[in-house]
């Protein structure tokens, strides 16, 4: 699903933005959730939105909202629901999702995020923070969305679970043709796992581009209060202060090899 906002007016700002189809895009510094909600088509302004090369009307937007799943951080499960199955059934009901075989859909969604189907009967109060996170993502998949907009998906996860979730997101993009947007304050995961990044400042787009290229603009990002991943900042210091010709890398083993060549 490709989303284009053309001369779009929101909160007094003029927005021009393209969310490319079939990509994992990072969204950083969106402290007021303006872009998180805009991309999810939950917050509307004035102007043109083009979806999959088609200009849209207000009615089209309502239809397209159902193609996007917004998965927020820290969702509080309703206290009157006891199990994951009840929670998922509740999601079917409130989001008006009709599927032929709801149980199969629930099990499939859990399987995608790596949770065993036996968890359907698990009591919600016994879930750990990381399990709650993965269950929330599984619920977001129940509607079979084209675009998935996630808030802090890697929060609470250890490095193994973090990598596993990234592989799941990558699979959703590559094999299931999904578009993924990740909103987070964690520059390390954005740098490692996204292809494009949109940095926000004062409710407008500060920079949007290839993640690798954007994060090499260290002085510019620092000036604008954007956190720099450790591996990037170390490389930046070596280049700037010591005039060492090492390259920017994502894997620490690569930077070690580069350092070894240059000491």
């Amino acid at each position: 699903m490709e989303l284009v906002f053309l001369d779009y007016r929101l909160k007094g700002e003029n927005i021009n933005l393209v969310i490319h189809h079939n990509t994992i895009t990072g969204l950083i510094n969106d402290s007021e959730n303006t872009f998180f909600d805009l991309i999810s088509l939950k917050k509307m302004g004035r102007g043109q939105i083009i979806i999959d090369n088609e200009k849209t009307t207000k009615d089209d937007i309502i239809i397209n909202q159902k193609r996007i799943s917004q998965i927020k951080d820290n969702i509080k499960f309703p206290s009157y629901l006891n199990t994951i199955e009840e929670l998922m059934n509740n999601s079917f009901r409130i989001n008006n999702i009709n599927v032929k075989n709801p149980i199969k859909k629930m099990k499939d969604s859990l399987k995608i995020v790596g949770i065993d189907e036996s968890y359907l009967n698990h009591n919600l109060n016994t879930l750990s923070n990381s399990e709650r996170k993965l269950v929330t993502i599984a619920i977001g998949l129940l509607s079979n969305p084209d675009t998935i907009v996630l808030e802090e998906p890697f929060k609470y996860l250890d490095i193994k679970q973090e990598r596993r979730l990234f592989l799941i997101l990558q699979k959703l993009v590559e094999q299931y043709d999904k578009t993924i947007i990740i909103k987070t304050e964690d520059s390390e995961t954005i740098y490692k796992y996204t292809k494009e990044v949109i940095a926000i400042k004062n409710n407008n787009i500060l920079v949007h581009g290839s993640t690798d290229e954007v994060y090499q603009r260290v002085d510019f990002l620092k000036r604008n209060g954007i956190n720099i991943p450790d591996i990037v900042y170390f490389t930046y210091l070596a280049k700037k202060d010591k005039n060492v010709k090492i390259d920017y890398h994502k894997d620490i083993r690569d930077i070690i090899k580069d350092i070894y060549k240059h000491v």
Binding site: N74, S128, D158, I231, H262
Partner: protein
């Protein structure tokens, strides 16, 4: 001297014959991968859940304490799991110190210190119902620390506070631990935050897999990675550069590291 002794703890499928201990007047970190039982252990030690196991707290069995007596001795901070009865942040802190039988000077001094050290000045007049997650957790911390309990248990703050904020809180906790005869245990998955704590215990599959000084433990990158725990970038870099004989010891500061490599 140990203030907490856990002997063959059994709890559901989380702990099986798990044993460990915590030294008096020390700030100890517990870490481990997702679902290793970090939060469960804290809840057992804070008597929020009952294990019926042999746990010695301050020389007495945990089950022999009256609940009111225990909650004075041991305070716990489980992020967002608390209800306050007062209206504003300042009123809550005042209410808490008013129940401590301290003279007026000491009460005022504690409130002043906690507001300064937990950066609550901007929200002291704010209504508790209007606090965001981070502010709420800072109030939880303040409300527990201000009573100077003998044992303070703090669950993982890293999903809510950034690394610099947690490091500053740890320095503050270290500054009061001896003065008030406290013992503090903090859970953390983000290990770069806890390097300044006195000791770290890594648990996985119901056993302690590593324990000791944080700098020494964090250099055991193979064991940590295998358990799913991310090694902080500068320690990871140092360990790998040591393997190549490019440096002699761990360096946590990036500027000093570039000086060591390229001066």
């Amino acid at each position: 001297m140990n203030i907490i002794e856990i002997n063959k703890l059994n709890y559901l499928n989380v702990f099986s014959d798990f044993s460990t201990s915590f030294e008096k007047n020390k700030l100890t970190t517990i870490s481990g991968p997702n679902n290793c039982g970090k939060t469960t252990l804290l809840k057992i030690l804070s008597k929020k859940i009952n294990s019926n196991s042999d746990i010695i707290i301050n020389y007495n069995n945990i089950n022999d304490y009256k609940i009111n007596e225990y909650y004075k001795l041991v305070k716990s901070v489980i992020p967002l799991e608390e209800e306050f009865i007062n209206y504003t942040v300042e009123e809550e802190l005042q209410y808490t110190v008013d129940r401590l039988f301290l003279n007026k000077e000491e009460k005022n001094s504690r409130i002043k210190s906690i507001i300064k050290n937990l950066y609550l000045n901007g929200i002291r007049k704010k209504e508790i119902k209007d606090l965001n997650d981070k502010e709420f957790i800072l109030l939880q911390l303040a409300d527990s620390i201000i009573t100077t309990p003998k044992i303070l248990l703090i669950d993982d703050l890293s999903p809510y506070l950034d690394s610099e904020e947690i490091k500053k809180i740890i320095i503050f906790l270290k500054s009061i631990i001896s003065k008030y005869d406290m013992t503090i245990i903090i859970n953390s998955l983000r290990l770069e935050d806890i390097i300044e704590t006195d000791k770290i215990i890594i648990i996985n599959n119901s056993e302690v897999i590593l324990e000791g000084n944080p700098i020494d433990i964090l250099q055991k990158d193979n064991i940590l990675n295998k358990a799913g725990i991310k090694v902080p970038f500068m320690i990871d870099l140092s360990v790998k550069l040591k393997d190549y004989n490019l440096i002699d010891e761990v360096e946590l500061d990036m500027n000093r590291m570039t000086n060591k490599l390229w001066n």
